[in-house]
């Protein structure tokens, strides 16, 4: 079985992995193999289905619950199972209660327990929610590691467009490139930034609730922190706006004043492809199977979608043989 995977973002690479594991001969094509076109390059990398349940359907738990295990098996050592900490400034404690009412798999923490988990936040928050089963990874490390693993396993990675006739099936994982062309797919702009500070140490992703501007900060190690992310109904991937930058920095500063002394290492913007229900799907059209609409759940839901697509590819194979 020869398969062409179009797009080397998280969806394409996860699908290529699932197919290669099942013994397919896989070629991955992407004109920008440095991931500069991929929304996943700008992702938070939180494997946090319990937190995401706050605004997503129950399906996010059902499909995302196994994501941490999938990544841990695919790339041993890359998944950090440290949970998620959710905090709110004293004024917005009602937001914390609202968050708790809509989610499960959490426990309430008091001041001392917060300090025990994240010493840098000692004395800053009286109340927090802790989601112990959640995990995180570094999207950029993971994308590169997965690419290298696939190459080592014999998957071809190419930049030039391929003749589709030479393949049995095409797996379209081109994400935002299909906006307005794949039924109802739209773009949701996300802006993020990287801060560098030697003064703060965090172990796990911390979400700061705010009635208008909720943000998260994910530690990447070596004093690097990813701060994200805005959610704007637009497919414009132009540079971050001053307002978004100000809001993200404000939130980081609220979490810890030492972030005021951090340096801004990078700002970035990505367009997340999303369907009307903000849930991804596998769409089959002839020989082509598309995985799209991963929205803000790339690393969380790509494994389940990749598995679904791989199953679709292999389930239909005997049929093709019987009816040539």
């Amino acid at each position: 079985m020869r398969i062409l995977v179009k797009g080397a973002g998280v969806a394409g690479l996860a699908a290529a992995h699932e197919l290669a594991v099942r013994g397919a001969e896989v070629t991955v094509v992407d004109p920008r193999p440095d991931f500069s076109n991929a929304a996943s390059w700008f992702a938070g990398g939180m494997l946090a289905p319990w937190c995401e349940r706050e605004s997503a359907d129950e399906a996010v738990l059902q499909y995302g619950g196994g994501a941490a295990d999938w990544w841990a098996v695919a790339l041993p050592g890359e998944v950090h199972r440290k949970g998620t900490l959710v905090v709110a400034p004293p004024r917005d404690v009602s937001e914390l209660k609202r968050f708790a009412a809509r989610t499960s798999g959490h426990e309430w923490l008091g001041e001392e327990e917060i300090a025990a988990l994240e010493p840098a936040l000692a004395g800053r928050f009286r109340l927090a929610l802790f989601f112990p089963r959640e995990a995180h990874l570094d999207p950029r490390r993971v994308l590169k590691a997965l690419r290298d693993k696939l190459t080592a396993a014999g998957v071809r990675l190419v930049e030039e467009a391929q003749s589709e006739g030479a393949f049995d099936r095409i797996l379209d994982c081109t994400g935002a490139a299909r906006i307005a062309d794949l039924g109802g797919l739209r773009g949701v702009r996300g802006e993020m930034l990287y801060l560098r500070s030697a003064e703060i140490e965090l172990v796990r992703p911390v979400r700061l609730l705010h009635p208008r501007i909720p943000v998260y900060i994910v530690p990447r190690g070596d004093g690097l922190f990813m701060v994200g992310a805005t959610m704007i109904e637009a497919d414009n991937d132009g540079p971050i706006t001053a307002r978004s930058l100000m809001e993200l920095l404000n939130a980081a500063y609220t979490l810890h004043p030492a972030f005021a002394e951090a340096t801004v290492a990078e700002t970035g913007t990505g367009v997340r492809p999303a369907f009307a229900d903000n849930f991804p799907r596998v769409v089959t059209a002839g020989r082509t199977i598309a995985i799209n609409g991963l929205y803000r759940h790339g690393f969380l839901l790509a494994p389940a979608m990749a598995r679904e697509a791989a199953e679709a590819v292999f389930a239909e194979q005997p049929k093709e043989r019987n009816f040539p």
């Binding site: 009412a101 109802g184 637009a234 009307a276 229900d277």
Partner: protein, 257 residues
């Protein structure tokens, strides 16, 4: 029937479109609310997208009237520019005018609001000003050419419900013929019913529906509360009394004890 700038509207509930879990949930909430007008905030990033905005196409396809707003604008020039962009994107002269004066409470800057209303009215816009419950500001807005007023009943998104019934009654009493729409601050259906019982013409909601656990069901609940408040206002309600009045006469009743 509610009439806004010469257009007859069959529903007295207006719905904002921000912060729903997904556009699919938003569409269902709009359907259940039976609203005929939705507000949409336009950000510059949105207007400069590559495909002209699938999200806006979705909203246009819902078959409801769009009232674009200038949410997040902090100055007259910003609000005027956003209003002009919105007119192009949505092909309507209607504009919900917001000029924010305070970043944290999102309290309107009423001075800039009046100025922006004057400029936009002169440019042919039909302005729906988001204002406080201040009577004098309301007068200035009408002088500036507004034919609808949208006072808050509490700060945006606070869900606090009507904080100053006296001020709301004063506005109603002074402007019996101006459509008054309570915009901002409503948290639950009883709040909506309360302001409708004061004789307000309509209610605009966003967070109270978008932030509910089941936005579509909450939209339906609000639709009924708004309708109930409106009917009650016209049906003539009792005023509270200090004594008990039985609903059946006591005189002539057999006494057993």
């Amino acid at each position: 029937m509610l009439e806004l700038y010469g257009t007859t509207i069959s529903s007295r509930l207006l719905l904002g479109t921000a912060r729903y879990p997904s556009p699919a949930v938003l569409a269902e909430a709009i359907r259940r609310s039976e609203t005929r007008i939705v507000t949409v905030s336009l950000r510059r990033e949105t207007a400069s997208g590559k495909t002209g905005g699938v999200f806006f196409e979705m909203i246009r396809d819902l078959g409801v009237r769009v009232l674009p707003n200038t949410a997040g604008c902090h100055s007259v020039s910003e609000a005027v520019l956003t209003a002009k962009m919105a007119r192009e994107v949505f092909a309507t002269n209607w504009i919900k005018l917001e000029v924010i004066g305070h970043h944290d409470t999102l309290q309107p800057d009423v001075f800039s609001l009046v100025e922006a209303a004057r400029i936009l009215t002169a440019e042919g816009f039909e302005v729906f000003p988001y204002t406080t419950d201040d009577l004098v500001v309301a007068e200035k807005l009408l002088e500036a050419g507004c034919k609808v007023l949208m006072p808050w009943c509490a700060p945006i998104g606070s869900a606090a419900g009507p904080l100053n019934l006296t001020a709301l009654r004063t506005l109603r009493g002074h402007f019996p013929d101006v459509p008054l729409i309570v915009d901002a601050g409503i948290g639950r259906p009883s709040h909506a019913a309360t302001v409708m019982e004061l004789g307000y013409d309509a209610v605009l909601l966003n967070t109270a529906v978008a932030g509910a656990s089941d936005p579509a069901a909450m939209a339906g609940a609000f639709a009924r509360a708004v309708e109930a408040g409106h009917e009650a206002y016209h049906a003539g309600m009792l005023e509270p009394r200090d004594m008990a009045v039985p609903s059946t006469p006591v005189i002539g009743k057999a006494v057993f004890a």
